[in-house]
């Protein structure tokens, strides 16, 4: 049984690894169509990544192994998450872990990438990382509230017993899921919240000093992170069932991503202070939702 679950986990991880860049390719196509462009092939992100993987990495006056290693550590953390989150198969590494671990592993991978960004010493990278850290601190607050809501509704922190949270249909859960959707969107670092690597002012932000393979891995892990966050959202919605996961899950995954892309295409970039304020407002709303949950709705 353990081995079967491990196998499930590995297969899920492979699925996420492969489908992450593919989703990005689809998104690029959709975005292009919304902007009256033809757009690249949906495999374009994969082509880009393969091209980057073939290139030599660059070190920019940074003697630290850490500068490069942090990228891969961040990547490895995402791999761990993908091993135990049910995605295409409804099972994983025996669900070794709970909600909090999931959040921590995801944010740890980001912490490593940002440590890498800071260690380059480039002011652009520092500012970009600072923005990322600030925004993820703020959204962590909302995430924590959502976890609290889930724990409250399901009286458990175990992933396999909280999925799907929709089994408890309360108004608070529904609003909470909506807010989780927004937070997922923000954590995807999409416009208007794509401020860590804001190309016009920061020229790539925390990724600025990376090149070649390292950059490839950063881009890859960004797509994986997006896929994982969305997977988590879907897992909370659909039943933990073979059919649902094999059929409904991919459909939902792609459609959520497409909706997100459409929203992204319609937005400009916000400033860090404004976006932090938005997230803060969201946390206030979420307090209300928790209150609602506490009084039994």
């Amino acid at each position: 049984m353990v081995w079967l679950n491990t196998l499930y986990g590995v297969l899920n991880a492979c699925f996420i690894l492969l489908v992450g860049p593919l989703i990005d390719g689809v998104e690029r196509r959709i975005r292009a169509r919304l902007q009256n462009r033809r757009g690249p092939s949906i495999l374009q992100t994969w082509y880009d990544l393969v091209k980057l993987f073939r290139k030599r990495a660059a070190r920019t006056g940074v003697p630290l192994t850490l500068f490069r290693l942090s990228v891969y550590t961040g990547f490895a953390y995402l791999l761990i998450v993908s091993l135990f989150i049910p995605s295409i198969l409804c099972g994983g590494m025996g669900f070794f872990g709970d909600l909090i671990l999931f959040i921590y592993l995801l944010s740890s991978s980001k912490v490593f990438v940002l440590i890498g960004g800071y260690s380059s010493g480039n002011p652009y990278a520092s500012i970009g990382s600072t923005r990322e850290v600030s925004l993820s601190m703020a959204s962590e607050l909302v995430l924590a509230e959502i976890i609290a809501l889930i724990a409250l509704s399901r009286n458990s922190l175990l992933l396999n017993s909280v999925f799907p949270v929709t089994a408890v249909l309360r108004p608070s859960v529904l609003i909470g899921l909506g807010i989780l959707g927004i937070i997922t969107y923000i954590e995807h670092s999409r416009l208007p919240f794509e401020i860590g690597e804001a190309e016009p002012e920061l020229a790539g932000g925390y990724t600025i000093e990376y090149a070649g393979r390292d950059l490839g891995f950063i881009l890859w892990s960004n797509t994986i992170r997006r896929a994982l966050l969305t997977t988590f959202l879907i897992d909370l919605i659909i039943p933990l069932d073979v059919f649902y996961h094999l059929v409904i899950y991919p459909v939902l995954l792609f459609s959520i991503m497409i909706v997100f892309t459409a929203i992204e295409t319609a937005c400009g970039r916000l400033r860090i202070d404004i976006s932090l304020k938005h997230v803060k407002k969201l946390s206030y709303v979420m307090w209300g939702v928790i209150l609602l949950a506490l009084i039994g709705y």
């Binding site: 500012i127 208007p192 804001a198 400033r271």
Partner: protein, 560 residues
């Protein structure tokens, strides 16, 4: 008490020196000693005129002196005031006017670099345009400096940032702040320039600017090698966005100097092409602005619309951007706008207008756009006057100025031009100004096309007299383009100085940047619609080897 007419003005000006009125030009020479500052103060701050630019001329072969002309524009009296300051060739020093009019800062430094006239009491007498490893006492725009001179290579690698503070405003501990280099290669800037922003957190504490990285020495080539009718094509290549307005301004300057009457039809065609250029430029700017605000869909939309304008231009002139229509005295024959083209223009513009109005009002009502532009990058009216900013940039700060209306040229004499003015002085105001100008320009073209007369296309220009002064002004999309010419022998110019509006507008950028958020820096810089290739109009320094390649005419091709 402001003088009511030119006569009174002349009387008043006698207090300062000897005014001479020649057509539109009011020369003030022999300034009484110590009265220069009063004169400048009177012209710029009290008479309601504004400082336009300064020109240094090596007139030693003509009258034995170097000359500095400060050009002030008195829109009310319809004259250009040229404050003539001769400088002794042995000891070329004149008094600086920068302390009174900060806008004169760069122009005076440029003269110091190129002609070698020193300005007494200039607040920051450092090099502006010439690279740091340029030898001292070599002044490229003097007449004894051959245009194809090759200087010996220098071992010193040019430093892009000078150590000396460029501005007294810099906080004392600016060393402690993080320097964010923006440029010369930065994705937000599409041309080579260099801003150094000092930040505390993400707040910009101070900013420095270093430009003129691609100075191309166009003036020297034009004065040395080109004939009158070759220059328009080079002038057009000063800029890749508003090239036509440069060639028009040049042609007008020569036409002024030689007193050539341009046929009306040519004037109409010039105006039409100028307006097409303006629309194209504003579309481009809006696209860039949306891109810098992170709204790439808006960028794509604007540039798609711009594409149709470019196609129209291509159908009319054979080129998307380099119209190549101007010659001294009018328009080239093949560039005539015939009946079927009139229809074509009307049709295309109608469609563009319709589509444009479908999009842009919606886009500029978006929350992100509003939040990031309202109250951001404010330039107050007094600061705008201080730096003599021009064009939409000035109009967004509440200064009602437009060459097309107040000093009409080409066909603007025959039609009414609508000029939007906003008072807020922020980026949003600049967007609104340009938005309204696009619509006004489309309407203007329709009107111009309705009235286009049937005359010749160009006047006879066989003889152009020597040592005549001419100023050609056009309202470029970014503001007033000013070309100053002195005619010379052998079908060649004696002196030509183009001054692009960005030259004045850029000086105001550090003021706007201070206290703003780093994320807004690109849009603030872009909000003046800077055109650095216009501004940086000799040498290309290879930074790695520190070797300098003297520029040959081949390098002129290109632009933005």
């Amino acid at each position: 008490m402001r003088p009511r007419n030119k006569c009174e003005l002349m009387t008043n000006l006698r207090r300062f020196g000897e005014p001479r009125l020649r057509g539109k030009y009011l020369f003030i020479s022999r300034i009484k000693s110590g009265r220069l500052k009063d004169l400048v103060d009177y012209l710029h701050w009290r008479l309601g005129g504004y400082y336009s630019t300064s020109i240094g001329v090596d007139e030693r072969p003509l009258d034995g002196y170097f000359h500095v002309y400060h050009v002030f524009v008195l829109e009310k009296y319809g004259v250009y005031v040229l404050v003539d300051l001769p400088a002794n060739p042995g000891h070329p020093v004149v008094e600086s006017i920068t302390p009174i009019v900060p806008a004169a800062n760069w122009a005076e430094r440029e003269i110091m670099d190129f002609i070698g006239i020193k300005f007494r009491a200039h607040p920051e007498p450092h090099r502006l345009i010439l690279p740091d490893d340029w030898p001292d006492n070599v002044y490229p725009l003097r007449k004894d400096f051959p245009y194809d001179e090759k200087l010996p290579t220098s071992d010193k690698i040019a430093k892009l940032v000078r150590e000396s503070p460029s501005d007294t405003w810099i906080a004392e501990d600016s060393e402690d702040h993080t320097a964010i280099p923006v440029g010369p290669y930065h994705p937000a800037l599409h041309e080579p320039e260099y801003f150094e922003l000092f930040v505390e957190g993400e707040k910009i504490v101070d900013a420095r600017y270093k430009g003129f990285m691609v100075h191309r020495g166009i003036e020297k080539i034009a004065e040395s090698r080109l004939t009158y009718n070759q220059v328009p094509f080079i002038a057009e290549r000063i800029c890749g966005i508003c090239g036509f307005t440069h060639s028009t301004a040049y042609c007008q300057a020569v036409e002024e100097a030689a007193r050539i009457d341009v046929p009306e039809r040519a004037e109409y065609i010039r105006s039409i092409l100028l307006e097409i250029e303006r629309i194209h430029s504003h579309f481009l700017w809006m696209g860039v602005a949306f891109h810098l605000l992170g709204y790439d869909t808006g960028f794509m939309i604007m540039w798609r619309l711009r594409e149709s304008i470019m196609d129209l231009a291509e159908k009319l002139t054979g080129s998307r951007k380099m119209y190549g229509a101007n010659i001294v005295g009018g328009i080239r024959d093949k560039w005539d706008i015939k009946e079927e083209k009139v229809a074509l223009i009307n049709d295309t513009l109608g469609k563009i207008r319709e589509e444009y109005l479908k999009y842009v009002p919606k886009i500029i009502s978006m929350e992100e756009i509003k939040k990031r532009t309202r109250g951001v990058g404010i330039l107050s009216r007094s600061d705008a006057r201080k730096y003599s900013v021009l064009g939409p940039h000035a109009r967004a700060s509440g200064i009602n100025t437009d060459v097309r209306r107040y000093r009409p040229y080409a066909a603007y004499k025959y039609v009414d031009v609508e000029i939007p003015v906003e008072d807020d002085g922020d980026i949003y105001a600049r967007i609104i100004i340009r938005h309204e100008e696009i619509i006004a320009s489309i309407d203007l073209i329709h009107r111009l096309l309705d009235n286009i007369p049937r005359t010749h296309l160009h006047a006879d220009t066989d003889y152009i007299p020597e040592r005549r002064y001419g100023i050609g002004c056009t309202e470029a999309p970014r503001g007033e383009d000013l070309h100053f010419v002195i005619t010379g022998k052998d079908n060649k110019l004696y002196r030509w100085r183009p001054r692009a509006p960005t030259y004045n507008n850029l000086l105001s950028v550090p003021t706007m940047l201070r206290g703003e958020h780093l994320a807004d820096a690109p849009i603030i810089i872009a909000s003046i619609d800077p055109c650095f290739s216009c501004t940086d109009h000799i040498v290309v320094v290879d930074l790695r080897s520190g070797r300098r390649r003297p520029l040959r005419t081949g390098g002129l091709v290109g632009g933005r």
